[in-house]
Symmetry: C2
Subunit: 89 residues, 2 copies
DNA sequence: GCAAAATGTAAACATATCTTTACATTTTGG
DNA sequence: CCAAAATGTAAAGATATGTTTACATTTTGC
């Protein structure tokens, strides 16, 4: 037996800027390394849209992607991602 | 105008054990502190199901929850979550 | 100042994360 | 041993994350 769900979704609106509980320094770190969004996306095997969304705080990366990003920049995790209201200790 | 999507979803089967690219030490750290799943869930304002799913590697926590969990245990992020094939340096 | 490169917007689609509810099984302590 | 506590399974619903495609706008370099 195959089980199926049917859902109605209201679409994410590009305009909405939600205040994220997670800060990230992806844009700054990427610029320090003089890397374009396109190159970074290709290196990480994701799309440029995902980089944009993260840099513009449309949404947070998954845990897996976040770990790969910190690795990519060769910095400790806390230097890239922090809960808002926290220092990177 | 309201935009709506209709999707068919194949449901996640509880049985399936996907090999996650992310390791976590939530169960070990929780046990070291002698904390039950229920107390931890309440403290973090999530459900016990979510704790179970993470401990049993059904799925990874979101980045936000992962950061909160590391905070909760008072340990560096890398001591709780690592990419598979990586040490916690 | 112009073309190319880089960055941004939009929207639909696909999948992953998290909740809720309801039981079932295992572990713990008296 | 037995009840209570802790842990586990299951499944459907809701929302967040990530991809794809197609353009629009801004920045860079010559």
């Amino acid at each position: 037996m195959v089980c199926v769900k049917i859902t109605l979704h209201f679409q994410r609106k590009g305009v909405i800027e939600t205040t994220m509980p997670v800060n990230n320094n992806v844009k700054e770190l990427r610029r320090q390394l003089q890397i374009t969004q396109l190159k970074m996306a290709e290196d990480l095997h994701i799309t440029r849209q995902t980089i944009i969304a993260i840099e513009k705080n449309k949404y947070n990366p998954s845990l897996e992607l976040a770990l790969k990003i910190a690795d990519y920049f060769h910095v400790p995790f806390g230097e890239v991602f922090q809960l808002t209201g926290e220092d990177e200790s």
